[in-house]
């Protein structure tokens, strides 16, 4: 459909999270969590294992219903936007989300068709070769190694025009080259006016834009969030 990201306005408020609280089972993971994500920003979510990083990202995607608080995308609650919000969003979870019986090319073609974001085969092949899978386009992905499978999934980032990326531990199982490339992709996304929210133990250098750090504390502690504006 019409991709609203083509004319990004700098410093436009994209995602507005207020008083968010999430439980898992009977355990309160975090509460009263408020933060804003403007355009050209990278939000780095940190926290110990079990502090609710994945839960937060899934709530931000709308996959999980938060127990309290609101999440607004460009001023509208994401629940009301539903599919319209999904169109502006790219989520990358723990699972790669690619079919092992399909080739890399087929996987990416289906993903882009479902996003109603017509991409021709050449662009997909170009994306796959940029991610280092040249010559593997027509192999079923089950023949690929763990890291290569992850690369197929990451090729979606190259093709994506979504203004908001939510990436859950994208750096795991990647080799040095792929880590470099991913850092580059994230920097590009921020530079062209998009936002990225990710969890990782890796530092991500940016060429332009701001980094916001969000630390999820102990289950019962209030969440502390520090903002460090840094233009590298």
């Amino acid at each position: 459909m019409v991709s609203r990201c083509s004319h990004p306005q700098p410093n436009l408020l994209m995602l507005d999270v207020s008083d968010l609280a999430c439980r898992r089972g009977e355990r309160l993971l975090f509460s009263d969590l408020s933060f804003q994500v403007p355009a050209e920003t990278l939000v780095h979510v940190r926290g110990r294992n079990g502090s609710g990083k994945t839960t937060l990202l899934r709530a931000l995607c709308g996959l999980l219903r938060a127990d309290a608080g609101s999440i607004r995308w460009r001023g509208e609650p994401i629940r009301d936007l539903a599919e319209d919000y999904n169109r502006d969003l790219l989520y990358f979870g723990h699972l790669n989300g690619i079919k092992a019986d399909l080739t890399g090319l087929e996987n990416l073609r289906i993903a882009s068709t479902l996003d109603q974001d017509p991409t021709d085969a050449d662009a997909i092949v170009a994306a796959l070769s940029r991610i280092g899978l040249e010559g593997f386009e027509d192999l079923p992905t089950r023949m690929l190694s763990q890291g290569q499978k992850k690369r197929v999934a990451l090729a979606r980032l190259i093709l994506s025009k979504a203004p908001l990326w939510i990436l859950d531990e994208p750096f795991t199982a990647l080799d040095v080259d792929a880590v470099d490339l991913l850092q580059q992709l994230i920097a590009e996304q921020v530079a062209r006016g998009g936002s990225v929210i990710l969890t990782t133990h890796q530092e991500v250098p940016l060429t332009s834009g701001a980094i916001q750090r969000l630390t999820l504390g102990e289950a019962s502690d209030p969440v502390s969030s520090e903002n460090t504006e840094s233009s590298c």
Partner: protein, 252 residues
């Protein structure tokens, strides 16, 4: 004047209210069931029907019919609370639905069992594929499905919502299922219209039957509230008010 119903929708507020209501519903249930049974067993006619009368054994009707009515009514209640829970996202509604399910299943089983006991002398068999018996059996399966799905899911919220959706799907399907059982041959559906309606039942039978129904209804309230209190305590275990309640009940 408006009452803020959402105030009572909080489990913490409802817990003491349910506690105070249980003894009252329990007493009313006991009184009405005793009256209904005494009336039905000793003060009504010895026989039912004309040319081929049913003898004393027909009196099981005073348990069978009220139990069957309650089993259907409670499924409506179950689906109703499920729908409210899904729409308004209120936790107490889901707890209510969960608390209703076992009582509904028990009444369904009771209706089936008494039906079998009644069928033996009157039809000469414990089980017959009579439309009403079959409907009741399928209702029992629906209850069991709800309970099984709820207990198979560890995450409380998913369990509540998934089972609620199942209850609503079941409710939508119930008319179609009952149609297919009552009218397996659409070429001659006349049988569907030859249903007995409460108006045709003699008053001397209807009144004790209704008394019993009210008794079982009160019992349902008491049982559901008792179960609900346990569910509330388990689910709210990490809240401060629960430890207060436990401390208070320990001293009392």
């Amino acid at each position: 004047m408006t009452i803020n119903w959402f105030k009572f929708a909080s489990p913490a507020a409802f817990y003491p209210i349910a506690g105070r209501l249980i003894p009252w519903f329990g007493r009313v249930a006991l009184a009405l069931v005793l009256i209904g049974l005494f009336w039905g067993f000793f003060l009504t006619a010895d026989q039912l029907g004309g040319s081929n009368p049913q003898k004393e054994y027909y009196r099981i009707i005073y348990v069978h019919v009220p139990a069957a009515w309650m089993s259907m009514w409670l499924y409506l209640v179950l689906a109703g609370w499920s729908a409210i829970g899904l729409v308004f996202n209120t936790r107490l509604s889901f707890m209510m639905a969960k608390a209703v399910a076992p009582t509904g299943a028990i009444f369904t089983f009771l209706a089936l069992w008494t039906g079998a006991l009644w069928g033996r002398p009157s039809w000469g068999t414990y089980w017959d594929w009579d439309p009403r018996l079959t409907s009741e059996l399928l209702l029992f399966f629906l209850y069991i499905g709800y309970i099984a799905l709820h207990s198979a899911i560890d995450d409380t919220r998913r369990a509540d919502r998934a089972a609620a959706l199942l209850a609503i799907v079941g409710l939508v399907m119930v008319p179609v299922i009952f149609l297919s059982i009552n009218c397996p041959d659409p070429n001659q559906c006349a049988a569907l219209h030859q249903r007995s309606d409460p108006g045709s039942i003699h008053l001397s039978i209807l009144i004790p039957m209704l008394t019993m129904t009210l008794g079982l209804w009160s019992y349902s309230f008491a049982a559901v509230f008792a179960r609900l209190r346990t569910i509330i305590l388990t689910r709210e275990a990490d809240h401060a008010w629960v430890s207060d309640v436990i401390a208070k009940e320990a001293t009392a």
